[in-house]
Amino acid sequence: MTDEVEVTVTVNGRTRQSRVEPRRLLVDYLRHDLGLTGAHIGCEQGVCGACTVLLDGRTARSCLHFAVTVDGSDIRTVEDLADFDELHPIQEMFHQKHALQCGFCTPGFLLTAVELLERTADPDEAAIREALMNNVCRCTGYANIVDAVAEAAVELRRRSSA
């Protein structure tokens, strides 16, 4: 009844084919089957945002999907952001602005910021706070995260006009 099912997905540009139990959550598939441990497991009910990935270009909670239901999808995780040794501008600004302490929530914040800045090149502080409102950070108090995203927006605009 619970036979394994074949799943083919593109993760960070690479096609991956596996056989998984239907109940395998996407986040567990990424972490245990593919070894991509950047998506973190916090609440397992979609509230904390630590497991956020980009699913077909949009943010999704990877704890709220079964790997079998995203068969054929394109998935981007935090591992795809940096270009070898060079951090993504959003990561660089998180570093510069001290927008992380323990780092557990950071992958989810980064990918949520990617979605925001792909849609809105010049978000004001309210828009940044609204976009980040459903990701939980227990260390920073959020102020530095908001600053980092605002600075990253400036840097991304500078690069795209360069």
């Binding site: 009844m1 036979d3 239907p22 009910q45 979609g46 949009r58 999704a60 909670r61 079998v68």
Partner: protein, 285 residues
């Protein structure tokens, strides 16, 4: 926790979905966006034997006008309905309700029909469906039946969907361009789930209200039409006295319960405050 084991079927057509449902009856559970179902499965509050995913039924991914109705198929994601020019033009009330649903990451995957079928008492869409006189299209191997929203939502997490049936679409009344509409809700500190809220639309001719549809959520076990409040408005000038009468009617026709987020009296008071803000189209939440 992790979900209990289940078997998985992903049909590619509605025909195949209803055949699968007929085969498995009560043991089968439809999975669309999964943004309400998967958390329940992770907590093992839901343990379906067979999960029937409709995510490959691309025929159910449509938004279209059919006569005087806006029809939304079962695979339409909330974000796609929210940003659809057709939804914005024909059912602005629905377009105003959708940004309140869940959070962006869940709206990216969650479906309109899935939220209606889930029937959470705190959900916005059942109230919007009541105010827009929605009709659920329930399809089974035996055929199709259409159920008005006021018969569809039975109680907390309970609808009239029978084993073997799937919500294949929902239809909404197209709004007249002259209509006004509003959705107002209050939540604690931006929490995903609101404490309570209202969805309403109304029309006027020569300064007199000719039609009002008002529904509330979070103030009872299921979304509820506020018919006394509607009656207080129709025929009035929607001035301060009429609004006060509608507010009083709304407060007397709801039967909220209290919980850790708000007590019953607060919710009863709230439904009036939000109705007034909606009618005045105040920009406060």
């Amino acid at each position: 926790m992790k979900p209990a084991p289940f078997s998985f079927v992903a049909p590619e057509s509605l025909d195949e979905v209803v055949r699968t449902l007929a085969e498995h009856g009560d043991d089968a559970q439809i999975l669309a966006g999964g943004q309400s179902l998967v958390p329940l499965m992770n907590l093992r509050l839901a343990r379906p034997e067979v999960v029937v995913s409709i995510n490959r039924c691309h025929e159910l991914d449509y938004i279209r006008l059919v006569d005087d109705r806006l029809v939304i198929g079962a695979l339409v994601r909330q974000i796609d309905a929210e940003t659809s020019p057709l939804v914005q033009a024909e059912c602005p009330l629905l377009a105003k309700a959708l940004p309140h649903v869940g959070l962006p990451a869940t709206r990216n995957r969650g479906t309109v029909c899935g939220s209606l079928a889930h029937c959470d008492p705190l959900a916005e869409l059942p109230a919007a469906a009541l105010a827009l006189e929605a009709e659920m299209v329930l399809t089974s191997a035996a055929g199709e039946r259409r159920v008005p929203a006021h018969d569809f939502f039975v109680a907390e997490m309970t609808t009239c969907i029978e084993p073997g049936e799937v919500v294949s679409a929902v239809t909404f009344a197209r709004q007249d361009p002259s209509e006004r509409s509003a959705v107002r809700e209050v939540s604690n500190g931006g929490h995903v789930f609101p404490v309570g809220g209202v969805a309403l639309r109304w029309a006027s001719s020569d300064g007199i209200c000719t039609m009002a549809r008002i529904a509330a959520f979070g103030v009872g076990s299921v979304a509820q039409r506020l018919r006394d409040a509607e009656r207080a408005l129709v025929g009035s000038d929607v001035g301060p006295a009429a609004i006060a009468a509608a507010v009083a009617a709304a407060r007397s026709e709801v039967d909220p319960t209290g919980d850790i987020h708000a007590d019953a009296d607060y919710r009863r008071h709230l439904v009036g405050v939000l109705l007034e803000r909606g009618l005045l189209e105040e920009e406060r939440p």
